[in-house]
């Protein structure tokens, strides 16, 4: 069972000055999967990632990576992990290449040709000779990703890695993470507040709020639960609900505002609804089928509808 997982976190607790920031978190990241870690700002994502990288100790609980408990002497584990924690931090007075060289030395990774390869992968091959202090935030983010993947890690821990990237950069990095995951079977733990991005790459997501993990669910499960519904815009949502209940016998219906109605009954079609409303002389402002996104799922979970971990 343990072999199935790269990371297992059990009942993690952490407080700073009496304020609880991580409260009984249990996380299970399977070997070779991409695990999306989402939550509002200050939810405890970075603290959990710091505990994983042994940058801060949990008050209680345990973290195992590849079955080994993380502690002060987990150097063999650290050699196999690439990470970005908090923000892309660099030695600003030296060049990007020199920063990557230093990283190789500290990691005991002796393949300097790989530096050219990763610089090309993140689109920074043209930056020779420029010190990092002259990089834009987006360039630093790309360089941080290059550094994280440089030593061919088996596990990538990426804290908000697509912050500050432009849409093209975000797309490129998404493809890169997918490629690394697919080709090298690298396990990736990635946090982001851009839910649409997590939705596109994650196999499993964990939703954290106020230090508590609200849900840990496979994306396939979420997709199953992402029911289709019909969104109807009318002048009087209340009246439309009554009419549709009376005429079509729809029970699963919700007026989300004064003008918008959501109908979850899979048996009823857009045509039937439109016909009833037109027959009753109601003005239809808009009607169409929609699907709940990860964003909807996320907010549902935050509002207390998710199962506790």
């Amino acid at each position: 069972m343990e072999n199935e997982y790269t990371i297992v976190m059990r009942d993690l607790h952490k407080s700073y000055n009496g304020k609880v920031v991580v409260d009984g978190v249990n996380i299970h990241v399977k070997r070779g999967e991409i695990y999306g870690f989402v939550g509002p700002n200050g939810a405890g994502k970075s603290t959990v990632m710091k505990m994983l990288m042994n940058l801060t100790r949990p008050d209680s609980g345990e973290i195992t990576v590849w079955g080994e408990k993380i502690g002060d002497d987990s150097f063999e584990c650290l050699k196999r992990i690439g990470s970005i924690i908090e923000s892309p931090y660099f030695y600003e007075k030296i060049t990007g290449r020199q920063n990557l060289n230093l990283h190789c030395e500290y990691m005991g990774f002796h393949n300097k040709e790989r530096i050219d390869e990763v610089l090309r992968l993140v689109g920074l091959q043209e930056i020779e000779g420029k010190t990092v202090s002259h990089y834009s935030m987006g360039m630093k983010q790309r360089l941080a990703i290059a550094r994280a993947i440089l030593a061919r890690p088996e596990l990538l821990v990426l804290d908000e890695p697509i912050n500050a990237l432009d849409p093209e950069g975000i797309r490129e990095m998404r493809m890169l993470f997918k490629r690394i995951n697919r080709e090298c079977n690298t396990t990736i733990l990635i946090s982001s507040h851009i839910l649409s991005e997590i939705e596109q790459i994650a196999d499993t997501i964990g939703i954290i709020q106020n230090g508590r993990l609200l849900q840990e669910t496979a994306m396939s499960e979420i997709h199953k639960r992402q029911t289709d519904y019909i969104e109807l815009a009318v002048e009087d949502a209340g009246l439309a609900c009554c009419l549709l209940e009376e005429k079509l016998g729809i029970r699963d219906i919700k007026a989300v505002s004064g003008h918008v109605v959501e109908i979850y009954d899979p048996a009823v079609s857009v045509g039937e609804i439109a016909a009833v409303l037109v027959w009753e002389d109601m003005v239809i402002l808009g009607i169409g089928r929609k699907q709940k996104s990860l964003e909807d799922y996320f907010f549902q979970a935050l509002q207390g509808k998710g199962e506790a971990s």
Binding site: Y89, K93, Q98, Y106, M107
Partner: protein, 228 residues
């Protein structure tokens, strides 16, 4: 990873040539002040002992502050700029990485002080030989005295420099590191002025080393891995 390798990596992170230049300037400044003190018109006795004491006072001020500046630039700023988060994810013991930085700074300042004393010594001998400014003449006994005093003050100044590291690490503050260096220089002047001879006695040196060891032990035990 060996300490030597870690020190070599530390040297790659900052433009060390800049600090070598600063150190050379500090030595030149020391020699300039020495020349001024030798050519002033007061009636004070000018001999090798007095001249050495002047150099010692100038170097105490310059190099303890310089030690604090290096502590700030190479260690404390890693915590303030958060690059320490990167360093501590490497498969190397955290305390060993900070120790490597501290060894580098201590060796660099000790070497600078040794170079400073050598330059000032040669300068004194040269200027006395040419202009006969000093009451006594250079001899083997003077050289021996010079060497012992130099080694003693290098040890004491490095210890005071290490105190600034401990003070700065309390709050991870560069300002506190620099301000503490001024306080420690003042403290040293107070201590040696209360001694029979205006210099550190062996007892004072021993106490200084003991306090340094205790301060380092406390800092390495409690402050190095504390990031928040």
């Amino acid at each position: 990873m060996t300490m030597e390798h870690l020190i070599r990596l530390e040297r790659k992170k900052v433009p060390f040539g800049y600090y070598i230049m600063l150190s050379a300037l500090a030595i030149l400044l020391g020699m300039f002040f020495l020349l001024v003190s030798l050519t002033d018109s007061s009636d004070a006795v000018r001999d090798f002992d007095n001249a050495f004491r002047s150099a010692e006072m100038i170097f105490a001020f310059i190099f303890i502050v310089f030690f604090a500046v290096l502590n700030g630039a190479l260690i404390i700023s890693e915590y303030n700029n958060r690059t320490i988060l990167l360093m501590f994810t490497y498969p190397v013991p955290k305390r060993k990485m900070i120790a490597a930085k501290l060894v580098l700074i201590t060796l660099f300042v000790a070497a600078s002080l040794a170079a400073g004393y050598t330059c000032c010594g040669l300068f004194l001998i040269g200027i006395d030989w040419k202009f006969d400014l000093l009451a006594d003449t250079f001899s083997g006994a003077v050289l021996c005295y010079f060497v012992v005093r130099s080694v003693t003050t290098i040890v004491v100044f490095c210890c005071l420099g290490l105190w600034t590291f401990a003070a700065g690490m309390c709050r991870k503050s560069v300002t506190m590191t620099i301000v503490s260096s001024l306080l420690f220089i003042f403290l040293r002047q107070l201590v040696i002025s209360s001694c029979k001879e205006p210099r550190e006695s062996p007892g004072v040196v021993l106490i200084t080393v003991a306090i340094t060891a205790a301060a380092l032990w406390y800092t390495f035990r409690n402050k190095i891995t504390q990031l928040d």
